[in-house]
């Protein structure tokens, strides 16, 4: 937080008395708007950081309380490091190097059109793909939980074998109460057949009021019913407590300078990922240049390191060349500690529809990452972590569509094998963009990723009839290959509130 204290000078008047000081300050905060800003900042911290834990709990307990999960995350990270190191060695490319001045000038000149570059990336391969990560999650075991080798009533029928607590439908109905049948929703009640006087007009009016009040908590509550397209960019910024101050723009420019000066191996991974995913997507290929501008800067941003306090993952470490083992030459690599995987750029792509100013787009993405997206590719017991989402998806399917679940299992098409990639990417690249943004509205509104698992189950429920007829994994994949015509809010509403069980 960098709040200017210039305003405080106005309180240095002789008539200010110590007895009334407290009340005067409170009054001043209210009329100057600082009270609201402080409230929003506090609300933001409460939303992001875990609740205070026991004083004896060590830092690693805050990252992840279960020891076996921490160990699994550590092993997975080691595999990623080894993979990156072998890539370095095989290709004889350093992890990082300073760019010669000529190269720096060249990059600066084409900063706004890096997409036109066609470097040879054939030798680079993504460090891992979601399906590699899924295999690790499938093999997670709690050493204190006896499954036994043979199938028994204690074995889980799905792929995830760890007994995390997940919500059932009654609990989900309570949690997502604003998605109920009697509450107006954008994505349902704004369709062309519904007269706008019934819901949409009033909802837009309330949204404008919320923005005028600049209240983060109110915005978060409001957006549970969806955001009007015209207000979305501002609402998301308000909820994430992002305001573009001059120092934020300066910070972004400094990151850009870091990109110009140092070349990182992860840059090539980012290039490759963008070329393979976003550039091939009909909706997102126009934003290719923006994606480089955001992701290359993201890799250099050391402020991201702060989120590792509550992330089960840890940033990779390296030493300056020739100084191996000397702690004063130890650094994190990449500077932000995040190694991108195949599909990573899809976290940024949808945001390009909302924000066109690079530093604002950057800030929004960074906040979305340290609040939500990091949970989708690290091993933890958190209710919004990918392991819990997988278990929630499988449990919902088993409980409410047992015939479908059993059938898919029998034909060797475990449902999670199909839905995993949707959840890891928060459905980016699978849904139409307007639908995706309605979905991400609810992620922000409920401060939870659980809706991804519920939607995944709802999609299977929607296509259940076709799925019951398939006889192979490939055929099941084909039925679920194209989600671009789906309307997410009706699916969610029907699955949660209108399915007869």
């Amino acid at each position: 937080m960098s709040y200017k204290w210039n305003h405080v000078a106005s309180l240095q008047r002789p008539e200010i008395k110590l007895e009334s000081l407290k009340e005067d300050i409170k009054e001043y905060f209210k009329i100057s708007g600082w009270e609201k800003k402080l409230q929003n900042a506090v609300y933001s911290e409460l939303s992001v950081f875990p609740s205070p834990s026991h004083p004896a709990a060590p830092p690693e307990h805050l990252k992840e309380p279960l020891v076996y999960m921490r160990k699994a995350q550590g092993s997975w990270e080691k595999r990623i490091l080894k993979s990156l190191n072998s890539m370095c060695t095989e290709l004889s490319i350093p992890l990082a190097r300073k760019r010669p001045v000529g190269e720096q000038k060249e990059l600066l000149n084409k900063w706004n059109e890096m997409g036109t570059d066609e470097p040879d990336l054939s030798l680079f391969r993504p460090v891992y793909a979601p399906k590699d990560f899924l295999e690790v999650l499938i093999n997670l075991r709690n050493p204190n939980y006896e499954n036994g080798d043979s199938l028994s009533f204690r074995t889980h029928l799905g792929l995830i074998q760890v007994p995390l607590k997940v919500k059932d439908i009654p609990e989900l109905k309570e949690f997502f109460v604003e998605l109920g049948l009697t509450t107006g929703q954008l994505g349902i009640d704004d369709s062309t057949q519904v007269p706008p006087e019934l819901f949409e007009n009033e909802h837009v009016r309330i949204g404008q009021k919320v923005l005028a009040e600049q209240d983060s908590a109110a915005a978060q509550q409001y957006i549970r019913q969806g955001s009007p397209t015209a207000l979305r960019a501002e609402l998301w910024a308000l909820i994430l407590n992002i305001s573009s101050q001059p120092e934020d723009i300066l910070y972004y420019e400094q990151l850009k300078t870091n990109v110009i000066q140092h070349d990182l191996l992860v840059d090539s991974l980012i290039y490759k990922d963008v070329k393979l995913t976003a550039s091939n997507d009909d909706y997102y290929f126009v934003f290719e240049d923006y994606l480089y501008q955001v992701l290359l800067c993201f890799s250099r941003d050391t402020s991201v390191l702060g989120h590792f306090a509550y992330n089960s993952a840890s940033p990779p470490k390296s030493y300056i060349r020739g100084k191996l083992g000397l702690e004063e030459y130890a650094v994190f690599y990449p500077p932000n500690g995040v190694i991108p995987f195949h599909g990573f750029s899809m976290y940024v792509a949808p945001l390009c529809f909302l924000y066109h100013e690079p530093s604002k787009l950057y800030q929004i993405f960074r906040e979305m990452y340290v609040r939500f997206f990091f949970r989708l590719h690290s091993i933890s017991s958190h209710p919004s972590g990918i392991v819990s989402l997988c278990l929630l998806f499988e449990t919902l399917l088993q409980t409410y569509l047992p015939q479908l679940f059993y059938h898919l299992r029998e034909i060797g098409a475990q449902p999670l094998r199909i839905s995993f990639k949707w959840m890891v990417r928060a459905f980016s690249g699978y849904l139409a963009t307007d639908q995706l943004l309605l979905l991400w509205d609810r992620i922000l509104g409920y401060n939870s990723l659980e809706i991804l698992a519920v939607l995944a189950a709802a999609v299977f429920a929607f296509r259940a009839v076709n799925l019951m007829e398939v006889t192979s994994l490939a055929a099941a994949e084909a039925v679920l290959a194209d989600l671009s015509t789906l309307k997410v809010m009706p699916l969610l509403q029907i699955f949660l509130f209108a399915t007869v069980t």
Partner: protein, 175 residues
Amino acid sequence: MSRVSVPCHVKGTVALQVGDVRTSQGRPGVLVIDVTFPSVAPFELQEIMFKNYYTAFLSIRVRQHTSMHTPAKWVTCLRDYCLMPDPHSEEGAQEYVSLFKHQSPSMTFPKWLSHPVPCEQPVPLLEGLPDPSRVSSEVQQMWALTEMIRASHTSTRIGRFDVDGCYDLNLLSYT
């Protein structure tokens, strides 16, 4: 009043089983841990702190010598305190737990033990209101600080990731 940790000896767990039946399916669900306080003068117990490992419910019984003439009595001071709301899932399985002495200051050690503590954790004693003159001097310090901040230019951390301008790296480290 400062608090110190009391040295104690924690014995190994003993399983409680019905009769002599010992089969692999009949895993006992109750384990007993004996904790003794060797050579310690009588003390006022404030807090018991431990790290859980998959215990769902906890009961604590204490044997206390009241006087030379009456025999030592076992009293239950905690019964079935819930550590894991859903024992079949991971919630609370590996958490750090503190159990506090009951809030009332008039309760001494034996009285606390004879009143079983309810399932909700008691809140530690609230502190009294601060001294006004202390507050006033702290406010003065705050003014001085704001003056200092006003005088210096706002500078966001740029966050250097290099060491003296150098960021030439070969390989990642595994440790």
